[in-house]
């Protein structure tokens, strides 16, 4: 493999979902009504702060969202992840997933980043041309989630730090590497590489891209 990589953000570029929606749904599927209401409430109450902090501290945003999974059994999380993955089959952009294989055939290491729980991201990307998957991992104690995320926490600038560390560890030349994204929150990913590519960009990202001179693969906005 060349010292080049192709970085893809899993959501919403390849699969139409978000860490906020996922965290809320998972929190609502705790065992017991009281737990469900309490944990979902926790996610919803922290959602505005999470949204506000996304652009400056995406890690904090995800910490707040996934705290609602405290007390969830590891096996339940795995089962719920499988259920969510099934429900997202119709929301997967197969044409964009094909880009992964294209990049790999060009000799680039294919890296997928996701702010979703690893249990879900790994199912969603199963069978894709992925060389490395980085996603958020929940801390487990004796098989039950503590509500904390293990470092490194992916989200916003946190993902950028991860990306640079990964590149250094694997001899990746970011200037010759490419990255694909569709949402403004993932602008960090595009700015880190020499060959950013917007795909189905949101209006805000499209504006950012025009200002930065980034190529747009298609001009169809997601929203």
């Amino acid at each position: 493999m060349s010292g080049e990589a192709a970085f893809f953000k899993l959501e919403p570029l390849l699969v139409e979902t978000s860490s906020a929606a996922t965290a809320a749904y998972l929190a609502s599927q705790h065992a017991g009504m009281r737990e469900r209401i309490g944990r979902l409430g926790q996610v919803l109450v922290s959602a505005p702060l999470a949204a506000l902090s996304r652009s400056t501290d995406g890690a904090l945003s995800n910490r707040l969202l996934y705290a609602g999974l405290r007390g969830m059994n590891q096996v339940r999380l795995a089962q719920l992840a499988a259920e969510v993955a099934t429900s997202l089959e119709g929301r997967t952009h197969r044409d964009r997933v094909a880009l992964l294989e294209h990049e790999r055939s060009e000799g680039r290491r294919v890296v997928v980043l996701s702010e979703l729980p690893y249990e879900l991201a790994s199912i969603l990307t199963d069978g894709w041309s992925v060389d490395h998957l980085a996603a958020n991992r929940l801390e487990m104690r004796d098989g039950w989630a503590t509500g904390k995320l293990l470092e490194p926490i992916l989200g916003g600038p946190g993902s950028l730090r991860w990306l640079r560390a990964f590149a250094e560890a694997h001899g990746i030349d970011l200037a010759r590497s490419c990255a694909y994204a569709s949402h403004a929150d993932d602008g960090f990913l595009l700015s880190a590489v020499g060959r950013p590519k917007l795909v189905g960009a949101s209006e805000r990202l499209a504006r950012m891209g025009r200002n930065a001179g980034w190529p747009v693969l298609d001009g169809v906005a997601l929203r």
Partner: protein, 510 residues
């Protein structure tokens, strides 16, 4: 360090007499022996007559229809009977009768031939008639021991239950029962058993209300002395009597105490389960509207796959033949690889969720029932069966008064009948839940299970290795599908008052 034990070579050519072959574990052991111990000598089964069916015909009916034997049928087809002929014989007998009801010639022949007697026959109801529990679990056990002692060179493997420990929390060693009740009072098991037998004789001779009162008093006594139910009380009495008898007679004997015996991991096949027991009933309930059960989430629930019990029995049988068996072996998981009540509830809920979310399920099941998870409640809960039953009783009272006041209007009758049926059903369910509460909530039982390791079984496929049980996989992929396939249909057809409770195995109480 003692030398290892080769189960296969030690048991090669040895003859085993098995009682309880038509029970859950009896069948599992039999298939295990036929498939995994081909070197074992001919196995003799003692099967009792039931109504018009001889012991032999009963066993052949079980052989023909029970799923435990489907592998043998698949392998041997029409040739199964011929294949079994040199490996198996069925003798009619009854543990409740002196000498098991065997004729002299049969007894003399078995006395010469048998090396190990395995007694897994038991009355497995938790709320049996006390006289029947005594007849099978105590007197019957002593009849088997007496017969074994009269044989030329046989040892006795008696199957009991880990729950002879009674209603108390703690870590329970692999040691003979003490001369104390679970509540710590001095206890003379022999005197107790003798008094019970005499009481049973008089009560049954009187019949009617006298007999009924005696049975109820006996059940209450078991609980007062500290056992969760008559089954564990009777098994504990039997252990005490057997231990004393074996010492007096110089009879080589080992007691095997399994915990809650559940679905097989491998033999006769993955997911074999033939029990309709209390834990199964609770698991079934957790898939209904009654999902709030009294339970302590941190307590271990000691479950052991039936094929592990079968292999442990063979290891102990080999140890007896080799003259190196210990008095007691516990086949349990709570010490070495515990699964908690909370985890069991969680995996059960997830399995029910999977079932309700299957593609062909109606909307109501997919969206509502799938999310109605079972919850552990150490205390009372407004949606617990006791609360719901009380509410149903209150409603029944109101409707009854309304019916009287309104002079029995026709439109009210169906409602009154429905509530009455519901209240009766809840009463039965509440009774089952009360029977299960010592196991789910009240007692923190940890059963030591190390003695089997000391045997150092040489064959890896015959070792008891509880650490290797992957509980999530076992519960979700083996046990719950097994219950849904083999046991839930029986529950749905069965009056809850007739659900037996199994922590061991053996013949049904009917």
């Amino acid at each position: 360090m003692s030398a290892g034990l080769s189960v296969r070579s030690t048991l090669a050519g040895k003859r085993v007499l098995l009682l309880g072959a038509t029970g859950f574990v009896g069948k599992a052991w039999l298939v295990h022996a036929l498939e995994e111990l081909p070197e074992l000598g001919k196995i003799t089964l003692i099967v009792r007559r039931q109504r018009q069916a001889s012991g032999e015909s009963r066993f052949h009916a079980v052989l023909a229809s029970n799923p435990a034997f489907q592998g043998l049928h698949a392998k041997h087809g029409a040739g199964l009977a011929a294949w079994l002929a040199p490996r198996l014989e069925v003798v009619e007998g009854d543990v409740r009768k002196p000498g098991l009801g065997l004729d002299d010639a049969t007894r003399a022949r078995l006395a010469r031939e048998i090396d190990v007697v395995i007694n897994s026959a038991a009355m497995i109801d938790f709320v049996p008639r006390l006289d029947r529990a005594l007849a099978t679990n105590v007197k019957g056990a002593m009849e088997v021991a007496s017969l074994t002692a009269s044989f030329d060179h046989a040892s006795l493997l008696h199957v009991s239950t880990a729950y002879v420990a009674g209603n108390r929390s703690g870590t329970f060693p692999e040691a003979p029962v003490e001369a104390r009740t679970p509540s710590g009072e001095p206890f003379d098991a022999e005197a107790e058993a003798a008094a019970l037998m005499e009481g049973a004789m008089h009560a049954m001779a009187e019949g009617g209300e006298v007999a009924k009162r005696w049975i109820l008093d006996g059940s209450a006594r078991a609980e007062k002395l500290g056992w969760p139910n008559v089954y564990t009380y009777s098994k504990s009495l039997a252990e005490a009597l057997l231990t004393r008898f074996a010492a007096q007679q110089g009879l080589p004997m080992s007691i095997v105490r399994p915990s809650i015996v559940e679905s097989a991991q491998r033999v006769p096949f993955e997911g074999y389960n033939d029990g309709l027991n209390l834990l199964t009933a609770m698991i079934y309930l957790l898939g209904t509207w009654i999902r709030h059960l009294p339970a302590s989430p941190d307590h271990p629930v000691d479950v052991v796959p039936v094929d592990d019990v079968a292999r442990a029995m063979s290891a102990v049988a080999a140890a007896l033949v080799a003259g190196r068996a210990r008095p007691v072996y516990q086949v349990a998981t709570s010490e070495r690889n515990p699964i908690t009540v909370g985890e069991a509830f969680e995996y059960t809920a997830l399995s029910h969720r999977r079932h309700y979310r299957r593609p062909d399920a109606p909307w109501f099941e997919q969206e509502i029932m799938a999310r109605w998870d079972g919850i552990t409640n150490p205390g009372a809960h407004p949606l617990g069966v006791h609360s719901v039953h009380r509410a149903a009783g209150t409603l029944q009272g109101w409707l009854g008064r309304a019916e009287t006041k309104l002079e029995r209007p026709a439109w009210l009758s169906p409602m009154v009948s429905a509530v009455k049926r519901g209240e009766q059903r809840l009463s039965d369910v509440e009774r089952l839940v009360d029977l299960a509460t010592p196991f789910m909530r009240d007692n923190r039982w940890v059963f030591v299970s190390r003695a089997l390791d000391e045997l150092d079984v040489q064959e890896p496929d015959l070792r008891f290795e509880p650490e290797k049980i992957d509980w999530p996989r076992y519960w979700l992929d083996i046990h719950m599908p097994a219950l849904r396939r083999w046991c839930f249909p029986r529950i749905e057809k069965t009056d809850p008052r007739r659900i037996h409770v199994t922590t061991a195995f053996g013949e049904s109480g009917s």
